[in-house]
Assembly symmetry: C2
Homo-oligomer: 737 residues x 2
């Protein structure tokens, strides 16, 4: 902050620097950068939108979920292409638990009767929706079996904050069935919290306000959710550990030692079922009790009530708890210089149904990259490092294919993995790169060098324009005060999670989006027709994705000095340290003020005495925490990062040993004991939130201890985070010498 | 702000002061205060909820709008009561223009056909809704006649900000029919702005999100708007002048000189019709074009589109432009001491239909006050000043009865009117007092002395608790830093407007509310059944309203020194001065920043090139304004107010001349030339917004000149406002001597 005037001046400078030195590339000297950019131009020339389109059409013509016949066919199709292009290709198999529906019943039994259809309509406008061999019925994978009957309670998004509101109304879900809408948190949080609160079952419906007619025209008129559309999805407790539920920490090989299913902690405690808004409306309309708070209202043409009851529902769920084979396609282009340094690029291939957008729109970009790289290598421009392409299976059920492969190859990957570049679908709009901040500078250089297909400027310039036009004051200010745009920290939700958070492999997750709104996610309507009509007509953003992810892969594979940088890391960690400190201060003040209001009795006067909404509950007040260890560690990291920056900027080549030191610094940010209650998560800077799911928590041990008011954990988590930062700082300093 | 620590200490003091000196009353010495409070206890003892209920039931049994047979019967009923209680009562008549519907047709003619019913359903659950002799069809009074056909454009609330958004989409309403939802501004602004933009007609519908099923259970299950409910209402251009459209500035006596109807500037330029959400849905569903911005969405189960078209509607409106008689009931209790000092207390009696809530729930409170005061007077406790009770006619069509009476008696009232106390309906919850800040301290003392019927604490304590529980940080802070709660400044929307803003008579507007949500406003469902079931069961808040408005009236009528005070005025004017200064600063910065963004071309990159939403339009940048005259005037007012405060606090009686000086200080805040373009509005501190309607604008000349970017007007308006403040300060200083 105190540097602002200087930084603004610095920024004017940096803009012109950027313009005049467009060819500078982290990890390359001037000549190397020029050669690399020439290589990338040839890389681009090999990319073909028509080819992406053809692969997408072929692979998405039929449902191809984990365990289906078509799943194996798609894996074979991808493997065949890789082999065609000269890759050393294998299909690596794991034996994993996969529940699929046997019985699904949902009926309203009081005060009126209604039986939910639990099915999606085939549409004449979209032939794919009639091509439904092997179609998985609508369900949430890793719901437990069960038959329950009870009154409905409306829990909004089913987040901790929502339950605090219900508490104020004196409403408990104990012994009831919670009905929640999609959104507000990752879906798996909804049954997890409902079960913690004593619910006997959970329904999750898609409210039309969120991605149905309230958001825009519905399919087939527009991209939004058809009234019968149901968002499938896993409810496995991924914030505890992802992957096969029976083999935490180890690969699910045929002979792996498995825990009994009944002991698997990541299967839900209560049955849970997703439904369409068409099926939800009669249930919600039959509810009584208080009207919901205004911010809980959805878009159905009814008055929403909290319950409990009088609507009672019976739900019965039984699953086939089958062991099936997951097929990961692993394709290597082995390098001569550093064959044991692996740059890994992955996207899953399994889909809930046809999976055109999710995952195939990302997979076809990956395939185009692989084909183009193979051509470059065949023409004599072999990368310095080995490039590994992966098409994962079983991502949808809980990152199963990638997690099992990472666990199975943990020792090897810890040694060899330089970085992991993930994609998982794509659509029209603005580039978004999330990931490890050691790669932030490289990511910015990549965005600078790829052209947006709609506007002809760089994808970086388009992203900057969007932040300038619609971002927060803080984000706008950073455009001026910071040389690089921030990349977002990663939580979970795709296959980078085991690489980054379990093994400490620097990762990126890349996609375009923001202009192609979508209600097809995980429904029958995620088809080739929907995708090419609404999400990326002409597949031009597919090609742009290949250019971005391809450049990231190529620069990591070809750079004499790996394009890692630590000032961006230090700056982002500094932001997180200030955030957790502010979090504690804000919570302290808010808690004190709210407790004072509660104690003063004003709520008894401020609230309507004829309604049931009561005062908020008193919360424990916050002690003062010692954040000094974090700040000391941060100072060390900042110093070390500054010291290394000069060397990084020189373009001087690095030895094999130096390069290994570079890429293993991310490992230093993990430790063996991991996060409280979930040791699988070893990274102390990035993790998915225990009560948000996909959403990231930075400095997760510290932040969640404060947020969840487990104040006795804070000091230990501060020390753990400070220790990994100090370790990383020492490694950076070693490099700088 | 710099006084905060001191003020907090002061506040603890003031709380205990308040407790120990509960009997202190502005305008009375200690003995006088005790006597007054004893009088008020007797006043309370005469109030009867059963009587309020009986009057409400009788007067609301049938529609009684201006010009109807029942309207005159209700006026006679009220007049008969006043006479019974001993008042010198007359029914003062004015001849006014009153349009009622002759032809109302609305049909969708393309792409499908639909004819709007334009009628409200009678409900078996509410017998009043079948008692519809003389029922006015649903319409907006003072719409011009016309038959138009055109494509629909959705204009959201139809405010200036909404048209800026439409401009960005390249959508014009020129030659089209604007369809707007109720809310966001006073209804009359919608056709006014639409006409300014070239529209040929306007429809206004009630969106279910705002007061229908989206807000809560609908009538008869709950209080919210039935699907057939239509909010009637005037669209006369009241921000130009209210009252009879043919007789601005003068009373509409039989022989008054009238302007031709075609010259009346307050009749709309284009036809306008209100409709129910049941009638609106087919029209909105037939619209195409871009999907509306998220914040424009309503609660119908459709995707909202901007148009224009393809939905085309034809609307035909013809009115009977009749001259009718408005009957104001004026009842006087003449005083002996100061017969020529009038304390006026009013509420209108006409309703759009049955009018149980609006206006009768307020009128019955007024009647109870009048009956009780008459009993006190009969028992020998005659007030020092004359009390005038008024039941106005024609309020709904545009404050017609009150405005004509005020204009007709302008000279007399300028001399004699001490203050005007208005009510206009009531419901359960929290007291709300708006008005002249010379009465702020008295209003606070009144709130301190009335008990909330639901909680047993004072209505002031309940209101404080609500602000503490739900108010802004600023409002909460002021509870500690300020002795009195602020009363809100008054815009328009009820009969205080001519008193306050045309003649400068200090006014209050009083009502309870906030706990009785309501969709019955101006519909067929504003019945006795609805009111007593949902809005004030047991009429306990009706009695509380009598206690509050009664105390305000009585203290003004009995105080030896009129309970006016000027520190509150100075403090509020100081707030408005700082607001307009900040407004200019904020607008300057925002305009500069937004223009810079526009000029940089970022919108071309940030916006979706496949959509029609374009960049915002450049706006003229702001010059720096000289606010010094306002600040100098304010300083004079503050000094004078401080000087008078000692005298006011002494409880010393005032002479007739001093009292007149006190109550005419509000006149000093007006001038003859009034506001730019609307000279009828003479008050330079309070006015209804020219483009908000009912919503108040403080320092209106200055504020609106800035907001509407008429920068060349600002200096003159600053001088005009500074001049009235200086005048008022001089009068206060004269008093203090």
């Amino acid at each position: 902050m105190r540097l602002l005037p200087f930084s603004i001046a610095g920024c004017l400078l940096c803009f012109s620097t950027t313009l005049s030195a467009q060819n500078s590339l982290l990890g390359f000297d001037a000549d190397g950068a020029a050669a690399q950019q020439a290589l990338e131009a040839r890389f681009d020339a090999n990319l073909s939108a028509a080819e992406l389109d053809a692969w997408l059409k072929e692979m998405s013509r039929q449902p191809h979920h984990l365990g289906s016949v078509r799943d194996k066919e798609v894996a074979d199709f991808v493997a065949a292409r890789f082999r065609e292009w000269g890759y050393d290709t294998e299909i690596v198999e794991y034996e994993v638990l996969f529940p699929s529906p046997k019985t699904r019943e949902l009926e309203l039994v009081a005060p009126t009767r209604f039986t939910a259809s639990l099915s999606e309509d085939s549409l004449s406008e979209d032939p794919s929706t009639s091509n439904i061999t092997d179609l998985l019925p609508t369900y949430n994978a890793f719901s437990i079996d069960g038959e329950v009957e009870g009154e409905l309670v409306f829990v909004n998004y089913g987040t901790p904050a929502d339950y605090e509101i219900l508490d104020r109304y004196g409403i408990s879900v104990a012994g009831k069935i919670a009905i929640s809408r999609y959104g507000g948190s990752w879906r798996g949080i909804k049954p997890k919290l409902a079960a913690e609160k004593g619910a006997i079952g959970t329904l999750i419906y898609s409210d039309p306000e969120d991605d149905g007619y309230g958001a825009g025209d519905v399919y087939p008129d527009g991209p939004f959710k058809h009234e019968s559309g149901v968002q499938r999805g896993s409810v496995m407790d991924m914030p505890t550990y992802p992957g096969d539920v029976l083999t935490p920490f180890i690969g699910a090989t045929a002979d792996a030692r498995r825990i009994p299913r009944e002991d698997a902690p990541t299967i839900t405690e209560i049955p849970v079922l997703p439904i369409s808004y068409r099926d939800a409306q009669p249930l919600l309309a039959a509810m009584g009790g208080e009207v919901v708070p205004p911010e809980w209202r959805g878009g159905l043409p009814i008055t929403y009530h909290l319950g409990p009851g009088p609507a009672r529902v019976r739900m019965k769920l039984e699953f086939n708890w089958d062991m099936v084979t997951a097929y990961n396609v692993i394709a290597k282009l082995e390098a001569s210089t550093y064959p044991d340094q692996w740059v890994i690029r992955g996207n899953h291939h399994d889909g809930w149904n046809h999976g055109a957008a999710d995952p195939l729109s990302g997979l076809v970009a990956l395939m185009a990259e692989a084909k183009s790289l193979a051509a470059l290598a065949a023409a004599g421009q072999r990368p310095l490092r080995t490039v590994v392409y992966a098409a994962w299976d079983g991502e949808e059920e809980g990152l199963i294919g990638s997690t099992e492969w990472v666990e199975d190859n943990a020792a090897l990957l810890s040694e060899r993995a330089v970085a992991y570049i993930n994609t998982d679908g794509n659509s029209r709009g603005f580039v978004n790169i999330g990931g490890s901040h050691v790669l932030e500078k490289m990511a910015n250089e990549v965005m600078r060098d790829v052209t947006d297909p709609q506007t002809g400027v760089s994808v970086a310039a388009r992203r900057r324009a969007r932040i300038e036009a619609t971002g927060s004051e803080q984000a706008r200010g950073e455009l001026k005060s910071r040389a690089d745009m921030r990349i977002s920290p990663l939580g979970s939700g795709s296959d980078y999670s085991p690489f980054l958070q379990h093994l400490g492999i620097a990762s990126l997750n890349i996609g375009f989006g923001g202009e192609a709104n979508d209600g097809s996610y995980h429904t029958l309507y995620d088809t080739y027709e929907h995708y090419t009509r609404f999400q990326d007509p002409g597949m031009v953003y597919g090609v742009a994705l290949s250019q971005v992810a391809g450049r990231a892969t190529l620069r990591l594979a070809y750079a004499p000095r790996l394009p890692f940088e630590f000032k961006g890391l230090a700056d982002n960690v500094g932001l997180y340290v200030s955030e957790v400190e502010k979090l504690a201060e804000d919570m302290r003040k808010q808690t004190e003020a709210e407790n004072a209001r509660i104690d003063s009795g004003i709520y008894a006067l401020a609230l309507d005495p004829t309604k049931t909404l009561g005062a908020p509950l008193r919360k424990p007040e916050l002690p003062f925490f010692n954040f000094a260890p974090l700040k000391n560690a941060l100072a060390e990291l900042q110093d070390a990062a500054n010291a290394y920056a000069e060397l990084a900027g020189s373009g001087a080549a690095a030895s094999a040993q130096e390069n290994k030191l570079l890429y293993t610094i991310e490992r230093a940010l993990t430790d063996e004991s991991g996060l409280p209650g979930r040791p699988w998560y070893r990274h102390h800077i990035y993790a998915p939130g225990f009560y948000t799911g996909y959403g990231v928590k930075t400095l997760p041990g510290v932040r969640e201890a404060i947020e969840e008011r487990q104040f006795d954990l804070v000091a230990g988590e501060v020390d753990a985070a400070a220790a990994v930062i100090t370790n990383a700082a020492a490694r950076v300093r070693e490099l700088a010498r």
